[in-house]
């Protein structure tokens, strides 16, 4: 790009990459290789010295395991529902926040607030809100006459999964809002004015002016959020610990259990790799999409 620099100076630029490469190799590459090595062995922490090489048997075990596919299904459900709703809410709220009315700055801050709340605190609040005996949700719905007696919201496996999703949406929509606001501020007002003069209505303006301009931002938010949702862990850990009846046991949580509860290090490592492969596939698809669409 900048031919003005002399050759030896360009060499210097290679040195700039070194710190990043060193920490990456140290903290990620080495553990990844180690994880791969462990995944090819039968390795229980209870018998650390008996560690036979078993090839890809740990991987085959999961591919035939019903529990594994159930976790994958739950994860995909969690991912698609939470990301879809976050994007829809994120875009709508961002559009509302772009309106030029008084007090919008304060509202913006208030709406972005949940994002700053630590995940474990977020989990603790919602766990209490959902509580069957003294939770705010029961109290509120009862008082409004919507339910006639208190319900144990987290007792049914599928309901519990949906309620964890609600808590997650509350926590992460602000992130999407920020990305969308960033993109919206680059849209020149004149574009809207032109569309207005052409007689386009609000809905029409959204689909023919706003949405196309937002596409790069939507893709960025989509990539980051999908990947995060696919490996969701913290919020499950705090609210339900995978329960009830494994109803919220997503794939990253299953990997955690294999390693830290059942102490099956070999299986846990194999599961880590399977998760990563899923994510890589998603990521590659997205990056392809990004590179095709973003360059405008």
């Amino acid at each position: 790009m900048w031919k003005v620099f002399r050759k030896e100076e360009v060499k210097f630029a290679y040195w700039l990459l070194i710190p990043t490469l060193v920490v990456l190799i140290l903290i990620i590459a080495y553990p990844i290789v180690d994880t791969f090595y462990l995944s090819l062995h039968r390795y229980y922490l209870t018998r650390p010295h008996f560690r036979p090489f078993i090839g890809f048997k740990n991987y085959l075990y999961f591919l035939q395991d019903e529990e594994f596919w159930a976790s994958i299904k739950r994860t995909l459900y969690f991912m698609s529902v939470s990301v879809a709703l976050e994007l829809v809410f994120g875009i709508l709220i961002a559009l509302l926040l772009m309106q030029k009315v008084k007090g919008m700055g304060l509202l913006k801050t208030l709406i972005i607030l949940p994002w700053a709340v630590p995940t474990i605190v977020n989990g603790a609040i919602w766990k209490w809100i959902y509580n069957a005996d003294y939770g705010a949700l029961n109290g509120l719905l009862y008082r409004l006459g919507i339910i006639s007696k208190y319900k144990a919201w987290l007792a049914d496996p599928f309901t519990a999964l949906n309620f964890v999703i609600i808590a997650d949406i509350w926590h992460t929509t602000p992130f999407v809002i920020i990305v969308m606001l960033a993109a919206l501020t680059t849209v020149p007002d004149s574009l809207y004015e032109a569309a207005k003069i052409d007689g386009a209505g609000a809905v029409r303006r959204f689909f023919s002016v706003t949405l196309p301009l937002l596409t790069p931002a939507i893709l960025v938010a989509l990539v980051i959020r999908t990947v995060e949702a696919f490996r969701v862990f913290d919020i499950i850990y705090v609210i339900t610990r995978g329960g009830p009846a494994n109803g919220t046991q997503v794939i990253a949580y299953q990997a955690y259990l294999e390693t830290f509860s059942y102490l099956h290090l070999g299986k846990g490592s194999a599961l880590s790799f399977i998760i990563s492969i899923f994510i890589m596939v998603l990521a590659v698809i997205y990056i392809k999409l990004l590179y095709n669409k973003v360059e405008y």
């Binding site: 900048w2 609040i125 990947v227 490996r231 862990f233 990056i287």
Partner: protein, 275 residues
């Protein structure tokens, strides 16, 4: 016009309500005795008012010490992430070497490796080299976690800096390092502060690494410390103290978001989102 404004206020008001009502409960119950949280039906407005949760939590756990740990870890990791990330991004945008896209893409792919599954191998490695309970045991993994997004945003930002500026710098005899320090860094302050805030919040809130790599009770971070507050019996669970502590550690982040939200948005505008 009045009508349109009303609709906007109504929409945003409802959203704000959804965002705020859990926080309202946090604030409310932090000033109530712990039993209040177990009232059935739940309490929606203040009844008793007490500071005892705020004072009591300092007796239950060394919150000040935990806060210090969190500050040290999150600040150092943010600094390292910005330094390494901006250096790599600069290298990448100057170099245009073969495999440049490969470097950026692999960086992003590495960042996608799930953290929950990295715990054990990293734990084992740190335990082998005696790094557990050392601030570095969190600073290093956090830095690595922050690098992919940071490098990516910075690289996109650098490429949008007008070429003429750099040609001029070169004519003026600035070396490649001098250009980085005297031109690129000052010009990219908006993007730098954006990623700094994104990274800092992520590091401050991180839980599972902090829980695992800092087994010593003096080395806990605030998120872990709060999660480990417990009463002697189930119904003595000091809920009031937990939320008082949670609020105290969230307030710095809220102030940061409040002060910097315009900056966050403008920084991203010039960076990744624009592509």
């Amino acid at each position: 016009m009045m009508n349109r404004n009303f609709k906007i206020y109504l929409g945003v008001g409802l959203m704000a309500l959804y965002c705020l009502f859990p926080i309202y409960f946090l604030v409310l119950y932090s000033f109530e005795p712990s039993e209040a949280a177990y009232h059935s039906p739940p309490v929606f407005y203040p009844i008793a008012f007490t500071f005892s949760n705020y004072t009591g939590v300092f007796k239950s756990i060394p919150l000040a010490r935990y806060a210090l740990n969190s500050i040290i870890v999150a600040t150092s990791a943010t600094f390292l992430t910005l330094l390494f990330g901006s250096m790599a991004a600069y290298g990448v945008s100057v170099l245009k070497f073969r495999g440049r896209d490969l470097f950026l893409n692999s960086l992003i792919l590495l960042g996608f490796f799930p953290a929950a599954t990295m715990i054990f191998p990293i734990y084992k490695m740190f335990s082998d080299i005696n790094l557990l309970n050392n601030y570095l045991a969190l600073i290093l993994p956090y830095t690595v976690g922050g690098l992919p997004l940071t490098t990516w945003v910075m690289a996109t930002y650098f490429e949008n800096i007008p070429k003429d500026l750099l040609d001029a710098a070169s004519v003026d005899g600035l070396s490649i390092g001098g250009t980085y320090a005297k031109i690129m860094i000052p010009l990219s302050l908006p993007a730098l502060s954006t990623v700094a805030i994104l990274d800092f919040i992520a590091f401050w809130n991180e839980f599972i690494y902090a829980l695992t790599f800092m087994p010593d009770s003096n080395m806990r971070t605030v998120t872990v410390g709060i999660s480990l507050i417990s009463g002697r019996f189930t119904y003595q669970y000091p809920w009031g103290q937990i939320i008082a502590a949670a609020l105290m550690v969230t307030i710095p982040l809220v102030i940061m978001v409040f002060v910097a939200q315009e900056k966050i948005i403008s920084g991203l505008t010039a960076g990744a989102v624009k592509g």
